[in-house]
């Protein structure tokens, strides 16, 4: 037998037919091709920039910018550097993304559940909303809100008062801002302590239920801890908080917080547009929970609310979270459309104005794209971690 074995050994393929060497060969070709491509691009770029007199490097970031920005979360004026415009833009991008994600999630969940409602008219209205707004380009929606709706609001002098000191006109929305007085910090810290205490309380209650089966009214006691206690102290101390109301002085409103129309239009459009996609995600997630689960919960005697909270939502969330993440990412990336109406996000300020003034296209483009890549990778990493925690633990 043993001498037959040697005959049965597969003959060694020729070197150009061996998959191992082939793979190596193709990859070497790819590396050489790619390397040549990159080197030639870098070379061309450098020589082109030299011939056009564009300097390279990041020295421009320390030069004074010489332009003002419409809305800035940090102090900014003409004398600040180009480097600072980057952070102003970045913060504005994060602001609109954060606000957009919050409102779009809210609207999306409501509409997603409404589309599944057993109330015919509610379901139809939700369907019409979803089908209309997700099939219209976002940029068009932004223009509509900005140029057709907000621009046609009454001017500053005919400003609409929405009550509670809120003013609304074509220069934006003016909201009273809270001014804390002596002792308000105590109320604030009580609020923070309340939140921390609630976390521990919930853990303790969970443990106790697991051990003894007894339930503890966590919801109401945490309401009391977080809101009740600070409120009582607040009232006892004689309400140490006053409001700064916007008032018409000269040509514009002074005081309070002003929300520029660019932000409003962008927020409205992003919320309404992304809300439709989130609604569809939510609907798919809830539909993915089999009807047997609902029936089993009912058979156990759980109330409708508890069925939703303890049985359906936790299972639906597993299906919802991954597509929801990509919607959040889309929203963050879509917030770059701000530049079309002049909301000072990073693309408008840094890739727009700063690039036009300094001409350093390569550095600025790389920095801006780097920001979006970082945001994308961070959100998807966080969501992957979250997803892993929520994922079904299978046997």
């Amino acid at each position: 037998m043993s001498d037959h074995d040697s005959d049965l050994k597969p003959s060694k393929p020729a070197i150009w037919n061996d998959p191992k060497y082939r793979a190596l060969f193709f990859q070497i070709i790819l590396v050489i091709g790619l390397g040549y491509f990159i080197v030639s691009i870098v070379d061309n770029t450098l020589s082109n920039m030299e011939s056009r007199g564009i300097s390279t490097g990041f020295a421009f970031l320390n030069e004074p910018s010489g332009f003002g920005i419409l809305q800035s979360l940090i102090e900014f004026d003409e004398s600040h550097t180009y480097g600072r415009t980057f952070f102003v833009g970045l913060l504005n991008t994060l602001l609109i993304s954060g606000l957009g994600i919050f409102f779009a999630t809210f609207l999306g969940f409501i509409m997603g559940v409404a589309r599944l409602s057993n109330n015919w008219i509610v379901a139809k209205v939700a369907t019409v909303y979803i089908e209309i707004f997700r099939n219209i380009p976002l940029l068009l929606q932004i223009f509509f809100w900005y140029f057709a709706v907000l621009a046609s609001l009454p001017g500053v002098r005919q400003s609409m008062s929405l009550g509670a000191g809120i003013e609304f006109n074509n220069r934006g929305l003016y909201v009273p801002s809270p001014v804390p007085e002596d002792g308000f910090s105590i109320v604030f810290w009580l609020f923070v302590i309340g939140i921390i205490a609630t976390v521990f309380l919930a853990r303790w209650a969970n443990k106790r239920q697991e051990l003894t089966g007894q339930q503890f009214p966590v919801f109401f006691s945490s309401l009391g801890l977080i809101f009740g206690l600070p409120l009582v102290v607040f009232l006892m101390m004689g309400s140490p908080l006053s409001w700064d109301y916007p008032a018409l002085k000269g040509f514009n409103f002074q005081g309070g917080v002003s929300i520029i129309p660019e932000l409003l239009a962008l927020l409205l459009a992003l919320t309404i547009y992304t809300g439709t996609f989130i609604a569809e995600t939510v609907r798919a997630g809830i539909n993915a929970v089999s009807h047997g689960q609902t029936e089993a919960a009912m058979a156990l005697g759980l109330t409708r609310g508890k069925t939703m909270r303890l049985i359906i939502i936790p299972q639906a969330m597993r299906v919802i979270i991954p597509p929801l993440t990509s919607q959040y990412l889309n929203l963050a990336k879509n917030s770059s459309l701000a530049t079309a109406i002049g909301y000072p996000d990073i693309v408008a300020v840094f890739m727009g104005t700063t690039l036009n003034q300094t001409g350093q296209a390569v550095e600025i483009t790389m920095m801006t794209m780097g920001v979006y890549l970082t945001i994308s990778l961070t959100i998807s990493m966080f969501m992957n971690w979250f997803n892993k925690r929520m994922a079904l633990v299978e046997r």
């Binding site: 691009i41 219209i136 140029f147």
Partner: protein, 373 residues
């Protein structure tokens, strides 16, 4: 009280009518609108809101609207609704941009040719769909280029800066999808390749383009592309936008195709190998035909997204449908009819996107055979 009691033999009782409040309109209303207190209040509230907003909207959109007229005066009548005369007088521009009026037959015939070629794709008994599809994807763009751009066959050249309107939107999204499909297929195969360098190059490419917004890509292609190539190479604006869109779109396309590749059972790969097919043969003859069939709905969805995204080219100064409406809105002869312009643009986009999404849903239902067990 006179109640007649009648006795029946066991099992002979005639069927009773269902309770009157569970059938007919009343039954439907009770079940779907007024099933509980909360639902009743909700229904009435929604109906009230609809009553408040829908009739005035219809009044403005259709009943009081001014449909024709050459100038804004026709719309400045007391109680006039939407000014469709504005759209009417600018319609050609909205469709074709600044394309010369006497040459409009060229884009028109390109469009008609495409429609004529597409019709057989929807006929069930037509057996050469793959061949026709290939013709539309490969040969048709060349024909359309010569028709719209001209330059040979005795056709006058129409520079791309004269292209615009809906035509440009369609050209951009069409080119974007047709060119990104093969690149996407290669990238998807690369991402699933066992060669580490090929795989990582594909992953980096895909994740890079998927991580940045299209606007930055368009900015990049408009300011940086001229720097990348040796002096003297001149790209026109439209070509730059197209390159940006193709690079961006191919990453998304790759992910769609990858979804299809992953849905093919491993047995198919193994069977192809067992038959002794080479890599390209097993992909080209066994895997890709199945995978691409699976992802047609996904490709249609990407197309919808791209179709909406082409509006962004207005930021780098191209005149697509939205840009040209935006420009018309700021025309002093027709100032103040922004809403009409946007409503018109929205309805054009909506009709395209909605019908495509319905088509994709129908396809998905039709193609859901075999692999889903």
């Amino acid at each position: 009280m006179t109640t007649e009691t009648q006795t029946y033999e066991l099992g002979n009782h005639p069927d009773l009518e269902p309770p009157s409040n569970t059938t007919g309109i009343m039954g439907w209303l009770r079940k779907n609108l007024f099933s509980s207190y909360v639902n009743s209040v909700l229904s009435l509230f929604v109906f009230y809101l609809l009553y408040l907003y829908i009739p005035p909207l219809i009044q403005w959109l259709f009943i009081d609207a001014v449909w024709t007229g050459g100038s804004r005066e026709v719309c400045e009548v007391e109680g006039a609704g939407a000014c469709w005369a504005f759209i009417d007088s600018r319609f050609t521009q909205f469709m074709y941009g600044f394309y010369p009026k006497d040459l409009l037959w060229r884009p028109n015939s390109a469009g008609l040719l495409l429609i004529a070629l597409m019709i057989p794709l929807f006929i069930k008994s037509f057996n050469y769909k793959w061949m026709l599809g290939g013709f539309i994807l490969v040969i048709y763009p060349i024909i359309a280029y010569f028709l719209i751009h001209g330059g040979s066959f005795g056709l006058e050249v129409v520079e791309t800066n004269k292209w615009g309107g809906l035509m440009l939107t369609l050209v951009l999204s069409g080119v974007g999808i047709v060119a990104s499909l093969p690149i996407g297929v290669v990238l998807a195969l690369g991402r699933r390749s066992e060669m580490p360098i090929v795989k990582s190059v594909s992953v980096v490419y895909i994740e890079f383009w998927r991580g940045v917004p299209l606007i930055t890509v368009l900015f990049m292609s408009s300011v940086m592309l001229p720097l990348f190539f040796a002096e003297g190479t001149d790209f026109d604006k439209l070509l730059r936008a197209m390159i940006g869109i193709i690079m961006f779109q191919s990453a998304y396309m790759a992910e769609v195709v990858r979804g299809g590749l992953q849905a093919i059972p491993k047995g198919q790969y193994e069977a192809a190998q067992a038959l002794g097919l080479s890599y390209w043969k097993s992909m080209g003859l066994i895997i890709l035909p199945q995978a691409l069939k699976l992802v047609i709905p996904g490709i249609v969805n990407t197309f919808i997204a791209l179709f909406k995204d082409t509006t962004l080219v207005l930021i780098i100064g191209l005149f697509d449908l939205l840009a040209i409406i935006q420009q018309a809105n700021s025309d002093s002869a027709w100032l103040g009819f922004d809403t009409e312009g946007y409503v018109f643009a929205a309805s054009v986009f909506w009709v395209f996107c909605f019908s495509m999404s319905r088509y994709s849903i129908a396809l998905e239902a039709k193609l859901h055979t075999g692999h889903k067990r």
